[in-house]
Symmetry: C2
Subunit: 345 residues, 2 copies
Amino acid sequence: MSPASTPAPQPADDAAPGRRDADPAQLFDAAIDGERGALARLLSLVERGGEPARAVARIAYRAAPPYTIGLTGAPGAGKSTLCDRLITEARGGWPSAENHPAEAVDQVAVLAIDPTSPFSGGAILGDRIRMQDHATDASVFIRSMATRGHLGGLALAVPDALRVLGAALVPVVFVETVGVGQMEVEVASACDTTIVAVTPGWGDSLQANKAGLLEVADLFVVNKADRQGVEEARRDLRQMLELSAPGEWHPPIVETVGTDGRGLAELWGEIARHRSFLIESRQLERRRSARLEDELRRVLAARLDAQVAALASGPAFAEALRAVAEGTIDPYEAADRVLSAGGGV
Amino acid sequence: MSPASTPAPQPADDAAPGRRDADPAQLFDAAIDGERGALARLLSLVERGGEPARAVARIAYRAAPPYTIGLTGAPGAGKSTLCDRLITEARGGWPSAENHPAEAVDQVAVLAIDPTSPFSGGAILGDRIRMQDHATDASVFIRSMATRGHLGGLALAVPDALRVLGAALVPVVFVETVGVGQMEVEVASACDTTIVAVTPGWGDSLQANKAGLLEVADLFVVNKADRQGVEEARRDLRQMLELSAPGEWHPPIVETVGTDGRGLAELWGEIARHRSFLIESRQLERRRSARLEDELRRVLAARLDAQVAALASGPAFAEALRAVAEGTIDPYEAADRVLSAGGGV
């Protein structure tokens, strides 16, 4: 895996089109040197799943994880615009907070999650015209994510992608979802700080998943706060928060106008305050280890799903099925036989 | 399992409350003798899952399956009333059809499926006031089904329940769903004949799952056909059917008024016609063997899910998790270790 083990190393031009996959270790070296094409290719390997994803994970897993900020909310809540503004704020660094000196943020990445899209990488990225301000900024990396072959889907591909970004020394990553589907909320809530964006009149737009969104939010944004109904939106959120179990952290509600940048400095300040809270209270560690446990459980489930698929296409399955159809054995006995033939339980 | 192996057999009063579980073989004997209490207890064992369900399946699997008729559609489509009327039609026997003489139907069962309810048996049954016409008819057995402990849920409990009814010599079973959730449509469509009930103005009520319902329907009912909009409902259905892939069987559209029984004889006739078609074309066999294959795959998946749960609470998981958290191994390697320790793949 090390460059030395490769007799004829590929040329360093990782971004050249049509080029064959390089060794992941070389790609990491290039990514750390600031080559965005190398980083993009590593993420493609992760999306592809299987052995390429494993080879990447094998190198990346030791890296310190980036600080991740999930941004979810109904379509039309202005998440892309908010994310665009937040990149600028983040590039200004973490502000100083109680017990925390200011910290520079030299790189920022955005993962845009769209589980409904069969495309990834370039496709949606091309549409994200609102982020064009950052297109020429080498310290900003924007990437849409779908899953092509990743067993276990986005819920497994995203942690791997975050690991890659961490190994490429990106300290802050925004995970923005296109909609508020179950998978998207799951992915956004598996971040260090989770922001739920609403707009005046939000109640109806989130109807289906209101309780779920309230539960995962560390921070609410009422975006498009120049519109009518912002007071009602804030009041509705407060009322619902009062009904939920009180914790040590009280999710603040920030009003923003993404289009002119109003409230964005305050929003970034609240994200920084939440980060300090997580570090001080040691909840950051606890959250991350709970997430890791969840991830490991998913990896196991995905492996066993693959085993079901493999068993169901094997000869023992066909034989057991025939026996059940002929009335020789019952389905439970059949499952026993398939599993013991397949080396399972 | 045979009564002879039980030294002190229980009294024959299987329906007595508070009585301990009898031997499944004895319960089957009693159920075949027409004791509805024994049948109810067998279905309770199936719902309970685990070893009791297996013991029942071990006896029931050889029985000839009943003819099953799934009835699904949005809440408010009048499914319970239709089902009530269909019981009466079914009790009149299968009408003669091309190549098929008339056949008596001496027993009918209804399984009412409500995956959202934590209750089963008596609870919903008590509410099914519309079926009270049949409450004193010993040849009609009505039962609500939920799953208490059945691993794999209703999708596995229902085939087991149908097997029990077949072993108790019930020749016709209606499987009625409360709503049109994914699981309910799946269960209703895993029947020999699947009926989708709509009402005038149905388009909106089924919006979410329209394509799925169209795909599984062998027969459409426009119920409440005394209301305005029945022509539009029929036309909408026709148009959608024209867009779908043509098969050998063209799903008929029957208009009914459940409350006064209009169209019910025609509906039963169409069910009989579909049954004849399935038998003649040998699709009945093919459908049933495809369903059996699907069931066996689900049994395997449920077993492997149980394995994930067991692995995730075992010492190898905790150890692997610690190693990943400490940065010693990556999550994939961790999964390998947990699986090999747990005797898995």
